[in-house]
């Protein structure tokens, strides 16, 4: 085979490899890619954020304030309405880029109040906008978008 054909063959192999990898990556994309039912932007440093989800009021608070990255934080979720069938949980991420699965497990404190500990990590890009996606099992998800302090 002449050198030009070899080059074409090598490029074709690279292109095929890239296509296979991208297809696998798309197939392996985590469920975090799903869209929440409710999305709201708020200033978490000033107080709790709240949203309406399926007839319930979902309130999220994070402490200590100001909310800083790379520190242990307490997440508090208060939900109105009937008792939940299972514990809610929070997925943390950035709207601008995938950061990997970072889930905060919640423990019930009172009838409608749940708390959990977690960390919002720092992104070297300098972007400070994060989301906390609160999932109420069998009800839906409410996403709170806010800025953190680096």
């Amino acid at each position: 085979m002449d050198p030009a054909s070899n080059r074409c063959l090598a490029m074709a192999r690279v292109a095929l490899g890239a296509a296979i990898f991208l297809a696998l990556a798309a197939a392996a994309a985590p469920a975090l890619a799903q869209n929440p039912e409710v999305r709201t932007t708020c200033n978490i440093h000033q107080g709790p954020c709240s949203a309406e989800l399926a007839g319930r009021n979902v309130e999220l608070d994070i402490s200590p304030k100001p909310v800083k990255a790379m520190e242990e934080l307490e997440f508090r979720v208060t939900i109105s309405g009937d008792r939940l069938s299972a514990a809610p949980y929070i997925d943390l991420g950035m709207p601008a880029m995938k950061m990997g699965p970072n889930r905060v497990e919640m423990v019930q404190q009172k009838e409608n109040t749940w708390t959990g500990k977690g960390v919002i990590v720092r992104c070297p890009s300098g972007k400070t906008t994060w989301f906390a996606r609160v999932t109420l099992p069998e009800t839906g998800t409410a996403e709170f978008v806010f800025d953190v302090v680096y």
């Binding site: 242990e72 995938k98 990997g100 699965p101 960390v119 990590v121 720092r122």
Partner: protein, 230 residues
């Protein structure tokens, strides 16, 4: 959360998916710089060693996370060091870019460096003149310490594994396992990028090397500035 068995698969898949997005965006310039720097030399093995080096560092970080069962304690200690690594990566890319453009011969870049910088000078020269692929393993190990969001996320998972482990050693092993899976998952994307960015098959590649060198200098300045302000 995920079961102990599934968390390895979760982070392998995470590394894989993040690799094709985040890693190519953030670490891509380093990978492309290394590929261009190698010019007519084979790039697959050096790039493989570089990625293995990164994964070794991730595993060691995971072992520390798993043993201490605390992300924040370690993260607060390592912040200043990571800033230095980010600046180092920026300077390395600038040096590679300067050497590649040919404006400053590689041997002369460090000619007027103070004697105290001898260790750094020797390291940079060794990378620029690398004849053996295995020399890229320590480079990967050092650059595995670059600050990175998804790496931090995997470190949090490793620390959680440590909390759930029955012993410090058990936590160390499971933490290292999570981070190793994450690191292995990121390899295909960066390895593929390194091979795509290899232009040695092009006939008129001198111009690309010149242009690539200029781009590397700009990217290196950006990395250095990011490190300075981190």
């Amino acid at each position: 959360m995920w079961s102990t068995e599934s968390i390895y698969a979760v982070f392998l898949a995470t590394g894989f998916t993040v690799g094709f997005g985040h890693c190519i965006g953030m670490c891509g310039p380093i990978v492309i710089s290394v590929s261009l720097q190698l010019k007519d030399r084979p790039s697959f093995l050096p790039q493989l060693y570089y990625n293995i080096g990164r994964t070794i560092t991730y595993s060691l970080l995971g072992a520390i996370m798993g043993a201490t069962a605390s992300f924040t304690r370690f993260a607060s200690e390592i912040g200043g060091f990571q800033k230095t690594i980010l600046v180092f990566a920026g300077v390395l890319i600038i040096v590679m870019g300067l050497a590649m453009t040919g404006w400053v011969p590689a041997g002369r870049i460090f000619q007027n460096a103070p004697p105290l910088a001898g260790f750094a000078r020797a390291g940079f020269k060794r990378i620029l003149d690398a004849r053996r692929a295995v020399l890229f393993l320590p480079l990967g190990m050092v650059l595995g310490l670059l600050p990175c969001g998804p790496v931090y996320t995997a470190m949090i998972a490793a620390a959680r594994m440590g909390m759930e482990a029955e012993s410090t050693f058990g936590g160390m092993i499971s933490g290292a396992g999570v981070m190793a899976c994450f690191g292995i998952g990121t390899i295909p994307a960066l390895l593929l990028l390194s091979q795509v960015s290899n232009v040695k098959w092009l006939k008129h590649r001198d111009l690309i090397y010149k242009f690539g060198g200029v781009m590397m200098i700009l990217v290196g300045i950006y990395f250095t500035w990011k490190g300075w302000t981190y």
